[in-house]
């Protein structure tokens, strides 16, 4: 539905932004395929180089107690700890556990929210990958209910 002129305009914008955004220091690391293919919280965390997993009160997972629909479940991960490299959001019983990983740097708060799909009721995790190789986690149970008449 887009006119050709419009498409060109958008492409130009994209090209321009990529040019200005392309600082070498910020080059995107290669997509962590092992992490996103992992079938458990432990394996996903390992793929980010973490050697140990410990529960921590300083990591927070935000999610509803009940999701009316598993297709869209709001989730957030945050931590107040210094030295965090990445914050991961995971759903234990999904076919692949890892939902998203956010890189933490000085320019942003270690506090990210998104929305995930959930196939069934499950524990959901926030994991903070620390600079020293530790992984600190918090979890919460989210019940997915069946809504509507479709059953």
């Amino acid at each position: 539905m887009q006119t050709r002129r419009e498409t060109l305009k958008h492409s130009a914008v994209v090209a321009g932004l990529l040019a200005t955004a392309g600082f070498p220091g910020f080059a995107m690391a290669a997509f962590n395929k092992a992490g996103f293919d992992a079938k458990s919280v432990q394996d996903a965390t390992k793929a980010f180089g973490a050697s140990s997993l410990t529960e921590s009160k300083d990591v927070t997972i935000t999610a509803p107690d009940i999701a009316e629909n598993g297709a869209v479940v709001p989730m957030g991960a945050s931590t107040s700890l210094a030295g965090v490299k990445q914050l991961l959001i995971l759903v234990e019983k999904n076919p692949s556990t890892l939902v998203a990983s956010f890189n933490v740097n000085d320019a942003v708060d270690a506090n990210f929210s998104t929305r995930a799909k959930m196939g069934q009721s499950s524990d959901v995790y926030a994991v903070a990958i620390m600079a020293d190789g530790k992984a600190l986690w918090a979890k919460k149970e989210v019940k997915v209910t069946l809504g509507g008449c479709g059953g």
Binding site: Q2, T7, H10, V13, V14, L17, L18, T20, A21, F23, F26, M28, F31, N32, G35, F36, A71, V72, V73, P74, G76, V91, N94, P95, S96, L98, V99, A100, S101, F102, N103, N105, D106, A107, V108, D109, N111, F112, S113, T114, R115, A116, K117, G119
Partner: protein, 103 residues
């Protein structure tokens, strides 16, 4: 060409809260079509954001992020008038960048 994003960036207490809605199928790769064939995964894989041209955020997503994704984050030391740009790239190589002004 993908549809535009909606980016809202609001300054408060020296920070900017950025809320982004993206237009994307986020096909999980788990679903079967009417003929019983698995629909291949098609999802946003990388998300980056810049403040006045300088990168402030990078994230990796898998196919479990919900369709028409939502993302929220806070940029430290941002003020009204600053420009926030968000870029996504999906596993088919399609990409989209949109920009908003912090209010």
């Amino acid at each position: 060409m993908a549809d535009p994003m909606r980016i809202r960036a609001q300054a408060a207490g020296g920070k900017a809260t950025v809320r982004v809605l993206m237009s994307h199928e986020m096909e999980s790769g788990q679903r079967k079509d009417a003929a019983g064939k698995t629909v291949p995964a098609w999802f946003i894989q990388e998300v980056t954001a810049t403040l006045n041209g300088k990168q402030v955020l990078s994230a990796e997503w898998g196919p479990a992020v919900a369709k028409n994704p939502f993302m929220q984050f806070n940029i430290k030391s941002a003020k009204a008038g600053d420009k926030v740009a968000v870029t996504w790239k999906d596993n088919k190589g399609d990409t989209r960048t949109d920009e908003a002004t912090v209010s």
